[in-house]
Symmetry: C2
Subunit: 298 residues, 2 copies
């Protein structure tokens, strides 16, 4: 079978390799220990229940504390239940929330939650978010790497750090004003990383499981990929905080830590692919091509 | 409405801007002249007819002459008609061809076409393919830019040039041997650009229209996103060369040229977004984020 390289984990072994050969990604994962993984914090994990299944989103309060808090409030009052995915633009984003939010007579109340928040496009490095820097240069930021599994960037001159728009990033839709977002409308990146959005909009988390439920949605035929009729929208059954879901119904995911030697080996395994299929290792990896490995907890 | 920036063409005007302000992308397109566009060559254009519509692919014989020729032969004998899309891996590729190609008793004959070809991972710069270089650095190649609308790279030291794995790129699936591809199995990139595949596999073209027909396919649940049952595969009604389709049934597309001043302005408009929504222009653009504008011929 012509497989076009190895992208999953079913990678061949290298029996003839010297023992000192750097491991492949599959070998890094195989050799990892429990300390190389962390369990998602249920207070920072959202379950968006769609007709076809669950999308699991991890919030990043270290980068967007105000927005994470507001979204938690909205979720806990059932704000999103019965709302809809109303936009799917090919190679860009899916977006959800209240389709009637512009109509004061029909818009759903945000309850106690704020309807606008100060921008959290970047935060001071001094907030103490961890950072494992990638060895390679990046065009969009002075430094890029990972903070607890989130692709992120830093600027040592300005002393600011921010989340990056890689595939699966979840952000807060806004109007033209920087403070016009609240978290009541969210989007997920479903295409090639739109890194030009970095530092222009508040990212608040990342889809950890269920991306295919968003990427396979029919594309909207309206401007910017909005669905033109209500019937085209995809209803959201509910969004819940994992804390509020009985333990037996939780996703039970764990994520490979990004501050370990195992992760550094994984990055190197992807900078220079050593699987037999590859003929010319790249010697480089772009931030959004680094896999963040998620698996069901053992 | 919270729109998350401007990604389509419905961009606001800038009545208050000084006349010397660099144009936005919408303005570049608005001001373009017929000389800024080229019509797709029907001898290098494939129509893949799926149940839900047509995927238009432009071949790049300048980068893969042997494979383009072989694919044309396969297409003209109706090789692909009734075959299937058999793989859809999220954030990676969709792949099509003969699901029975590994079974000598069932595999469809390639007829006069070759069943393997020398790799065309790169070609000499001296073949004369045009190249409009991007101003920005790239992690995967010494130089990147565009060749007749195809994202491409060059290495002045080795004197080689190659197509790049951006969203929509179409390539020739192969096994572990470099010469094990023929064009009878093809793939299209449906996710974040897997640039590590550059120089490892033969790219032969690019999807110009109909990407959403590939990106919305259900993801395969088998290894590497292959569909596990025949029923899950998507049948291909036919693949035709545009030359062989009556003119009235052709797609009638034109593409913005990439060797013009208008295109340079478009690139600059995307390196530094000047639309009102943006607060922090990136000052950079990654190769695969540059839009190649396709429209119906006027």
């Amino acid at each position: 079978m012509l497989t076009l390289g190895v992208s999953g984990l079913g990678v061949s072994s290298f029996a003839d390799e010297p023992l000192s050969a750097p491991p492949t990604m599959a070998e890094v994962i195989e050799r990892s220990t429990p300390a190389d993984w962390r369990v998602l914090d249920p207070d920072n994990t959202l379950y968006m229940e769609l007709p076809a299944g669950r999308v699991v989103i991890e919030l990043a309060p270290g980068f967007a504390p105000l927005h994470a808090r507001n979204i938690r409030m909205l979720v806990r009052t059932g704000y999103f239940d019965g709302l809809a995915i109303m936009r799917s633009q090919d190679n860009y984003v899916a977006q959800w929330g209240d389709p009637d939010s512009d109509d004061p007579r029909k818009a759903r109340s945000l309850g106690e939650a704020r309807d606008s928040l100060p921008a959290e496009f970047t935060v001071p490095v001094s907030t103490g978010t961890p950072f494992t820097r990638l060895p390679d240069a990046d065009g969009y930021a002075p430094q890029v790497g990972f903070a607890n599994g989130f692709p992120a960037a830093r600027d040592p001159v300005s002393g600011r750090t921010w989340l990056c728009h890689c595939y699966g990033a979840v952000g807060v839709a806004r109007g033209n004003e920087s403070d016009s977002g609240s978290g009541a409308q969210l989007y997920a990146v479903t295409g090639h990383a739109p890194r030009h959005l970095d530092r222009n909009i508040t990212l608040v988390g990342r889809v950890m499981q269920g991306m295919e439920l968003l990427t396979t949605l029919p594309r909207g035929t309206g401007a910017l990929g909005f669905y033109e009729t209500a019937a085209e929208r995809l209803p959201i059954k509910s969004i819940r905080l994992a804390t509020d879901v009985p333990e037996a119904e939780r996703a039970g995911l764990e994520i490979m830590r990004t501050d370990t030697q195992a992760f550094s080996q994984l990055v190197e395994a992807r900078r220079n692919r050593r699987e037999e299929w590859f003929k010319a290792p790249a010697g480089y990896i772009e931030l959004c091509n680094v896999p963040i490995v998620v698996r069901r907890r053992k």
